[in-house]
Structure formats: structure tokens, C-alpha cells
Amino acid sequence: MSAIELHQVVKTFGHVRALDGLELTVEPGEVQGFLGPNGAGKSTTMRVLLGLLRPDSGQATLFGGDPWHDAADLHRRLAYVPGDVALWPNLSGGEVIDLLGRMRGGLDLTRRAELLERFELDPTKKARTYSKGNRQKVALVAALASDADLFLLDEPTSGLDPLMEAEFQRCIHEIKDRGATVLLSSHILAEVEALCDRVSIIRAGATVQSGTLSDLRQRTRTNITAETSRPATAVGAVEGIHGLEHHDDANHHRVSFDVDSAHLDAALSALGAAGILSLTAHPPTLEELFLREYGDDVGGAAEGGAPTTAHARGTAGVPR
């Protein structure tokens, strides 16, 4: 049984389709990155999972239960950190942590004390005097001090300094080691790369990519520049070649292109036939990967069926 399963989930607000057939599966024990441009529907998804919003259609299950009907029972097993933490101005940080912990069904006081120290948070300050980063820490400590099975983290580190960011990553590794599941929405790609087993990317309320990071890399293009002894005209006939450029003069034949990973072998064979003198190949950086996913026209994505299969991509190349 998956920890989280969303299938064809639609949620509209008036005329806005915030979620438009969203697919998301998170397996127990995995840390899944949840990415997408602003307004893609990440927070709406979190709220559906929390049973705060009721989907218009589609199926949502959390530990096999219905997040809307069994909200409170399911919440015993999960902890949530919002991206913009609002606190009661007249309660101290310590009081808020205890309040949330007790309402979740108890919290580990030793762990609470340890986390307060690790995140350097003063629990006696009134919430109205906390900065954004400190409010974020209050929600983080409250969540991490629980022994939840599932952590829903919606941009949990926004406003944290790099030291605290590192501390956060250590904490996630710890909860992962004890077998907890994490859904982590984030814009910090280094954080995603460091923590996540799998990544789902959504745009305009629909999933456009889902898989491990190496899967995603597989599904993207490698940039290749080569010098050959003869004009590499055969390359043009290979499938999956983009932005092909030839620079041919009397002695030098240079060619550069992007190639879909699936056709890398064919492209290299075509180059080999032309006699390779030198070759540079760049795998896509994570940044490029996301820029492409966020920025591409995904008109064909819906036809791609299940999000784990490669979707039809627009023809426009990535600007380099």
C-alpha cells in the first residue's frame, strides 16, 4: 500500500482549475520531491492531502484511508509544515510546539529539547516577535518532534539560513533512517538533490514528470559537440536530434547538437562513422532539467498517459 496515492484529482476554485487530473504516488519510506513553478498547485495538493479541501473528482488516499473523511485519524500519523507559518501572536513558540504536539497525540519532550537546541530557537519569545525564519522553525520543531510516519513539508526551509538548512537536511536523513515517508515541496534544487529518492514535477495542476532523479536525467537530452575527420552528415538522419549545427571548412568538421538520451547510442554511431577527433558531452544539470520542465509547452503531456512514461515534449529546445 502506498503512503500517498492521488489519481486524476481535480480541484477548482470558481473558474480556476487548481488541480487538473493530478497523479501522485509516494511509497512508504521514500522521500519524494514535489516540484513545480509558483501556482502549479503544490500547496493545494498538500491541503487536499490534509483533508482541508475536498477534491471535485478523482481519488485521493492516504495510508489507504480517505483524507477528507478520516482526516483526524490519519493526522495522528502525519506531521505538516506549511510554507508560510502563521502563529497566534500572543502565544510563545514553546506553547505553540506543545499545543500542536499534544493535539497530534503527544510529543517527545527529549526530542523537543534537542531540536530547539539544534535549530537555535528561543521558545519563550511571543510569536509576534518571531521573524519568518523563526516562525518556520517553530513549525519544523513541532513536526520533527513527533514520531509521525508521514511528513508533508510545503517549502519547509523558506526563510532558513544555510546552517539551519543543513540541520534540516540532517533531520530528514534521520527520519528517513527510521523509515518515515516524506513529501517535500521545495524550490531549492540542491536540497531536492540531496534528500529525494524520487521527484514529481507538476505544472498547471497536472503531473508532467515523475521518477528518480536518474530517470529524469535519462529522459532528457545530452549536449554533444564533436570534431570529426569527415562531415558528419549522417547525424541529421538520427532520430531524437535537436538543434543540430554543422561548422564545416576545409580541414575542420565540427558538429553540435542535443540528443534525447534514448538515441544517444545511434547518434554516437553516426559520429563514429565520420571519424571522431574530439568529443565533449554535457549531461543536463538539474537546473536545466527543471527549467525545461517548468518552461516547456506541455500541451502534449496529457496524451502521455501515466506520468511515469516519457511525455511528448514540445519541439522548442532549451535556451542555452
Binding site: L53, D73, P82, L99, G105, R128, L152
Partner: protein
């Protein structure tokens, strides 16, 4: 260096845009209420005999003086109009500017929005200057409309304008007060509380001064407006303290503004507890913690006011016995005037106390909008228990408030009038109104459940019930209109015979509304 008020005009436009419905409602509502009351008074005191009767009554009435101050020029119609309407009008104008100024100064700063604006080309004093400017113009508008309304109804034009100017003067004084208080506290709610307390204190000082015929009446801004005597020999010199107080308040505001950091007040926040007490962590415990301050403030204010009303009972009996006009005015008709006075006082106070219940219910909506409800509901707390926990606290607090009103009034009357025999009937007069209060509370829950974006309409329900209770008879509301207020359906004991049926029906209506509203909250999206 650019001026410290550069950018003010942009902020003025922002305030006008944000308050484009709220502000006209305040201005027109206040002036309409004055005009309506004036018209009723004109119809009520249309003969010299009736006016003489009125003058004799109020000149001897402590209760009247407590509420309306020294009765000047009440031997003529215009003077009676002024005496009957000025208290309400001045309090409304003061409340209008206090809400407006705090909303656009400290509340903006507290929310962090002001920071966004201060980062633009905006002078240090621009935010305050803009709020003060709009409040001042609103005060002038109320004054002008008031003058036009009274003049239009046939009152002397010169006096009408003097009356209007006195309203503007009160507006300016409380504009300056709110602006200064907003510099002192870091919390908008506290700023409103302090300004409201000063307003109430100033009103009481004027009232107590008027009852005791002492100099106190001339120490309060509400007293200054009366000393102006718009419909007697106008004493323009009393404009001076009004203007001086306003100028002094604004100067203090400017001084405080440059001597504090943006976002900070002059009162430093105290550290809180590092651990939550045992009670915090249950829905009731949380609700109690969140409503505690609001409740204590209300309960204290209600007990003091109810005790004041109660202490006047003895006097009322001797003074009103032979003045049927006054008895008419307090909407009693027949029966013992003492009972009539307490029935009316209980109605007024319980109707006012309903504001606590409405604001406590609407706090749940505020929790949702701020995102705090989301945090709480992400725990194992079921939505229904979150709602019921909060409503239970509000319900108990409401019952306690209403009971306190009755007990405080009856006790004060017992002590001052040495009359403990009426204790039960006086206390009962307040408690019997409880079902009506709960109907208004139920309406708020209903809106919260089914029209969350319009939950603020609960204030309209409250305002209507209050106006109906306070002025319904004076304004000659038709029966069908009065029937819309739950307070018109429960018996006005001790005047009317107590029957349990309307109360039981009202209770049923209230609990059905609460239940249906709770179902709405369960079924709808949160946030």
C-alpha cells in the same frame, strides 16, 4: 531631503479604495440615525406642554444625565433633539475614527504590509498623516451632513451647523487620540482596546459630572460638545479645547513616531512560557486561551456598566413616577417605571453584549484566513471538535456575560436602593434575553458554515438587533421590521409577563442554526 509626509496622497487613495464601502456606511449610518431620531423627537414633543414635561423630567433624571450629560436648552424642540441625539452621534463618530485610524496605521504595521509601503518613497509620517487626513475629512463630512439633516428638518440653521461642527470636533479629538495610541502599542487590538477604554472613560466622566453637577462634566470632550450649546447661546469658545486636544494629540503622535522603530511600540513585549500549560492542547483549552482576553475585557466592562445602571434604579422610581413622557421614551408603556427602566437597561446591555459573541464566533474565520486553522487541523484534532470546542467556550462566556449583567444590575440596585426584593426579577430580566442573544450567535455560526466569505454579515445582524432594541420604538419601526430582531420576540420582563414559549422557540432556533452552521463547516473547504 524629501518631506516626511511625501507619498501621503498615494496612501490616502489606498485608504479610500480599501474603505470605499465601510467608510460611507459609517458616515451615512451615523447621520441617518441622527436624522431619524430627530424626526421622532419632533413628532413626540410637538406641544409646549409636552416640551415642558420633557424638560422637567430630564432636568431631574440622573439616568438621563449619565447617558446624555447636562440638559441644556431642553425647553425648545431643537434643544431636545440635541439632547436626545448628541450622545449617540458623538460616540459613533468617535468609534468611526478610532477604527479607521488604527486599521490604517498600527494594524497595517503589525501585519507587515506597512513595511512594503515604507520601502517606497514614503515619508516617516505619511502613513499616520494619510489616516488622520481621511479620518478628519470623514469627521467634517459627518458634521456637514448632520447640519444639513437637522436644518432640513426645520431646526435653526445656525444651531444645526454648530451641532455639526461639534460632531466634527469630537471626530478630530478621537482621531488624534487613536493616532497617538497606535504609536504606543505594538498590537492593533490593544490599540483599539486602549482607545475604546479612553472613549468609555471620557463618556463616564461627562455622565458622572452631569449627575453630580460638578466640573468633571467640563473635563471630557463629550462635555465640551455640550457646552457649545448649539441651540442656545452658542459658546464658540468650547471649540478651543476640542481643537487644542486634537492638535496636542497629533503633536504627541508625531513625536512618538520619530522616537520609535517601525513595527515596534513603546511597550516592549514580555517573554512567554517555554512550555504550554496542561490545559493548552485541548480544543477547549486553546479556545479559552484565544478568547480569554476578549472575554475578560467584555465581562469587566459589562459588570461596571450594569452596576451603574442598577445604582440608578432608586432615583428612577422617584423621578419618573409622574413623567409618562420619559416612560414612553424608554419604551415601557404601562407598569412600574422601575421595572420599565430595568427591562430597558437589560435589553440594551444584553444587546450590546451580543457583540462579544459575534466577534468570538468570527474569530474562527480569522483563524482560517490567517492559516492558523490549517496548522491546528493538520493535527489529529477533528474539525468538528475544533469548532465545538471554540463554540462551547463562546457559549459559556455568553451565558456568563448575560448572567453577570443581571446580577450586577440587581446587586447594585439592592445595595443603593436597599431593595433586595426585586433581585430575582431584575436579574431575570437580563437572563430571559439570553435566547435572543444566542439566536444572533447562531446566525454568525450559520454564516461561518455556509457563507464563510460573508461571515462578516453577522455584524449587520448584530447592528440591526442593537438599533432595534435601543431605538426601535423611538424610530417607530413597523412591526414586521422589529420582528426581524430576535430581541423583539422574547418577553421584556419584568414589565411583560414571563412566558417561556418564545424563549424556548428562540433557543431551538439558535441551536438549529448552530448545528446547521457546524455541518456547513464540516462539509466545506477550510481556508
Amino acid at each position: 531631503m524629501s518631506s516626511p509626509v511625501v507619498g501621503t496622497h498615494h496612501l490616502v487613495r489606498l485608504i479610500l479604495r480599501r474603505d470605499r464601502i465601510r467608510l460611507p456606511l459609517w458616515i451615512l449610518g451615523t447621520t441617518t440615525l441622527v436624522a431619524g431620531s430627530a424626526q421622532s423627537v419632533l413628532a413626540l414633543y410637538d406641544t409646549p406642554e409636552k416640551r415642558a414635561g420633557y424638560a422637567a423630567t430630564v432636568e431631574a433624571s440622573g439616568a438621563g444625565k449619565l447617558m446624555n450629560g447636562i440638559p441644556y436648552d431642553v425647553d425648545r424642540t431643537a434643544g431636545i433633539v440635541a439632547y436626545e441625539t448628541t450622545s449617540t452621534a458623538t460616540v459613533l463618530v468617535a468609534l468611526m475614527v478610532v477604527f479607521l485610524v488604527v486599521r490604517h496605521t498600527r494594524a497595517e504595521e503589525e501585519s507587515g504590509r506597512a513595511e512594503l509601503l515604507r520601502a517606497t518613497v514614503t515619508g516617516r509620517h505619511a502613513a499616520t498623516a494619510a489616516a488622520v487626513l481621511v479620518a478628519a475629512v470623514a469627521s467634517v463630512l459627518v458634521g456637514m451632513l448632520d447640519a444639513l439633516a437637522l436644518g432640513g428638518l426645520g431646526l435653526p440653521w445656525a444651531g444645526s451647523f454648530a451641532h455639526g461642527i461639534s460632531l466634527t470636533g469630537i471626530g478630530l479629538v478621537f482621531t488624534a487620540l487613536a493616532a497617538a495610541v497606535a504609536q504606543v502599542t505594538a498590537s492593533a487590538r490593544l490599540a483599539l482596546g486602549i482607545s475604546g477604554a479612553v472613549l468609555g472613560f471620557a463618556f463616564l466622566v461627562r455622565g458622572v459630572g452631569a449627575v453630580g453637577d460638578s466640573v468633571l462634566a467640563r473635563l471630557s470632550p463629550f462635555g465640551w460638545t455640550q457646552e457649545l450649546r448649539p441651540f442656545g447661546e452658542v459658546a464658540w469658545v468650547w471649540l478651543a479645547p476640542l481643537l487644542l486636544a486634537a492638535v496636542a494629540g497629533l503633536a504627541l503622535t508625531a513625536y512618538l513616531t520619530v522616537h520609535r522603530d517601525a513595527g515596534a511600540g513603546l511597550i516592549q513585549p514580555r517573554p512567554g512560557n517555554s512550555h504550554a500549560s496542561a490545559s493548552l492542547g485541548t480544543p477547549v483549552g486553546l479556545a479559552l486561551r484565544l478568547q480569554r482576553g476578549l472575554w475578560i475585557g467584555w465581562a469587566t466592562g459589562l459588570v461596571i456598566t450594569a452596576a451603574l445602571f442598577g445604582s440608578l434604579g432608586k432615583e428612577v422610581r422617584s423621578l419618573l413616577a409622574d413623567n409618562p413622557e420619559m416612560a414612553d421614551l424608554i419604551a415601557v408603556g404601562e407598569g412600574d417605571v422601575l421595572e420599565g427602566f430595568f427591562a430597558y437597561s437589560a435589553l440594551l446591555l444584553v444587546a450590546v453584549a451580543t457583540a462579544f459573541s459575534v466577534s468570538a464566533v468570527l474569530r474562527l474565520r480569522a483563524e482560517e484566513e490567517a492559516g492558523r486553522a490549517e496548522l491546528v487541523l493538520s493535527t489529529a484534532l477533528p474539525r468538528t471538535r475544533w469548532l465545538v470546542g471554540s463554540l462551547a467556550v463562546t457559549l459559556v462566556a455568553t451565558i456568563v456575560n448575560v448572567t453577570l449583567i443581571g446580577v450586577a444590575m440587581a446587586t447594585a440596585h439592592g445595595v443603593v436602593g436597599d431593595d433586595w426584593g426585586s433581585f430575582g426579577s431584575i436579574a431575570g430580566a437580563a437572563v430571559e434575553l439570553l435566547p435572543a442573544t444566542l439566536v444572533v450567535l447562531g446566525a454568525a455560526v450559520l454564516l461561518l458554515g455556509w457563507l464563510p466569505r460573508w461571515a462578516g454579515l453577522a455584524w449587520a445582524v448584530f447592528a440591526f438587533a442593537l438599533i432595534e432594541a435601543y431605538l426601535g420604538d423611538l424610530l417607530r419601526f413597523p412591526d414586521w421590521l422589529s420582528a426581524l430582531s430576535p430581541f423583539s420576540h422574547v418577553p421584556q420582563s419584568p414589565v411583560e409577563a414571563f412566558t417561556s414559549a418564545p424563549g424556548i422557540v428562540a433557543l431551538a432556533v439558535a441551536f438549529v442554526a448552530i448545528g446547521v452552521g457546524a455541518v456547513g463547516v464540516r462539509l466545506r473547504d477550510i481556508g
